[in-house]
Structures are given as structure tokens and as C-alpha cells.
């Protein structure tokens, strides 16, 4: 009986070490909720400030509109939301990793970052090209699509639920491309609502 316990413990430890050394598990569900709130607030501001009167500039591909100051403000708003969301995620992960007695910047974390960076950098360049061509309407769908691809790509090295979140973002991105006049709504659904839902699920599942 005693021997059996030792074998079971050995197996448990093997499994836990394999998981700990390959998966980044310091991501906090709360950062998902916070990112979602920032996105919803941002989408609301964008809607109020930029989208009410002149909707045609979003998907007017013939006139090639210039980058107006309005568009510049929208891009700055998007960058602020991005910085807030990433900053919160890093800060909360740091706190969680300290609590678990792990280092934040371990090989698993590096793998998550590298695997997310490949689709995200491609997407970023793609978005810069869209901006330079004046195709502003495609910005929201493109961010959803590339973000979704990045999540799916990195999901092997963190919580597997990230994969489902990524697939949802990809689907929303494609829908937003097709129903381009509702791009901002899909963006708010993906970056706002889905992040909050995901954050609550993860918080209840792993942090209770």
C-alpha cells in the first residue's frame, strides 16, 4: 500500500513538472475582465466621437481618404486601450506568479510571447498598410482576426481555454469583414464582451 502511494505520487509529480515547465499559467482571469472593460469603454468613446455623422469614411475605398485628425485620434485611442490592457495583464501576472512562487519570465512565458508575436506583428504590419491605403473600415476586423490567430497559436503553451477564445475572435473577425458596417460592434463583442466572459470563466475555474 505504501509503495503504491509512492508510485502515484511519482506520477503526479512527473505530470505536474511537465505542465509547469511547458505551460504559462500565471495569466490572471482578472486581466481578461479588465481588458474587456477597457475595450468596451474605448468602443463607446469611438462610437460617440467618430462614428456618428460620417460613416462613409470607414469603407470608402474609392476616394482614398486622407488620414484625418479624427482618424489620428481614433488610432491613439486604440493604442491607449492596447497599452492599458497589456499593462494590466503584465502587472496582474506578475502578482500571480509571485503568489505561486514562480518566475514570470520563464521559458513557458517566452514561448507564449514569441508565438503570439508572430501573428501579431504580421497583423500590425497589415494594419499599417491598411491605414496607409485609407482602408479604415478594415481595421477593426483585422485586429480581431490577427488577435484570434495569435491566441490559437499561443494556446499550446498556456491554458487550453485560450484556444476557444482565439477561435471565437477569428470568427468574429471574419463576420466583421463581411458585415463591415458593423465592424465596431463586432470589435466590442470580441475585445470587450468575450474578454469579460473569458476572464470570469477563468477566475471561477482556476482562482477560486
Amino acid at each position: 500500500m505504501k509503495a503504491e502511494d509512492k508510485y502515484i505520487k511519482d506520477i503526479t509529480e512527473i505530470r505536474s513538472m511537465m505542465e509547469r515547465s511547458t505551460k504559462f499559467i500565471s495569466l490572471s482571469g482578472l486581466s481578461g475582465i479588465m481588458a474587456g472593460i477597457y475595450a468596451l469603454v474605448g468602443a463607446y468613446i469611438a462610437h460617440r466621437l467618430f462614428f456618428t455623422e460620417n460613416n462613409s469614411m470607414l469603407f470608402n475605398t474609392i476616394d482614398r481618404p486622407e488620414i484625418t485628425s479624427e482618424m489620428e485620434n481614433l488610432i491613439i485611442l486604440a493604442l491607449v486601450i492596447l497599452l492599458l490592457a497589456v499593462g494590466t495583464a503584465v502587472a496582474l501576472s506578475l502578482k500571480k506568479s509571485k503568489k505561486d512562487g514562480e518566475k514570470l519570465w520563464n521559458p513557458a512565458a517566452r514561448r507564449v510571447v514569441v508565438n503570439m508575436a508572430i501573428p501579431l506583428v504580421s497583423g500590425g504590419i497589415f494594419i499599417l498598410i491598411l491605414i496607409s491605403k485609407g482602408l479604415f473600415g478594415f481595421l477593426a476586423p483585422a485586429t480581431l482576426l490577427f488577435y484570434g490567430l495569435a491566441l490559437v497559436n499561443a494556446s499550446k503553451f498556456t491554458f487550453e481555454e485560450i484556444r476557444s477564445l482565439g477561435i471565437v475572435q477569428i470568427v468574429l473577425g471574419l463576420l466583421a469583414f463581411y458585415f463591415i458596417e458593423f465592424g465596431l460592434i463586432f470589435w466590442a463583442l470580441g475585445f470587450g464582451l468575450m474578454h469579460i466572459v473569458y476572464g470570469i470563466v477563468m477566475h471561477l475555474k482556476y482562482e477560486k
Partner: protein
Amino acid sequence: MKMFLEDLHKAFESRVRLGIMSALAVNDTLEFTVLKEYLDVTDGNLASHLKALEKESFIEVNKSFVDRKPNTKYSMTKEGKIAFEEHITALEKLIKSQK
């Protein structure tokens, strides 16, 4: 049951060695400092266990310099992989046989 017991490898009896092998089984290479962090052991303790595994030729050492600082990376050898898999299979069978 005796049969399975023979497959249990003496080298993996220690928790630290079992941990080293588990981490290396799922990572191509790992640095000394990273292993130390995962296992939560002292430098000397980890070094002696790594030496023992290296002697059995279950793991390989790759020493290099990054920014003039020594950087030691460990990886599992083919023999190590086979031995570790046998060890896990033996553990599983032992647990099953006792149920």
C-alpha cells in the same frame, strides 16, 4: 509484479532526478538556472543530481557563453528518453497491478 519493479530505474528514485527528467522530457533544452527554479533546490544539490544523470548518459550538457557569462544547457539523450519512458510505463503498471 516483480517484473515491473525491475523496470523501475534506480537513477530515478530521487525526486530531484525525476523532476529533471520530467522537465527535460517536454523541453528541448533547459538552462541550469531554469531547472533550479522549477525544482527549488540549491546549486550544489542540483549539480550533483545532474552529474549523476550525465554519468548514466541520460542527459547531455552544452556549455557556452552568452555575453561572456557561462550558460549551461541540458537536454535529454535518446538513452535517457527510453529509460524515462520505461520508468513511467513501469510506474503505471505497478499502480494498475495493485488495484
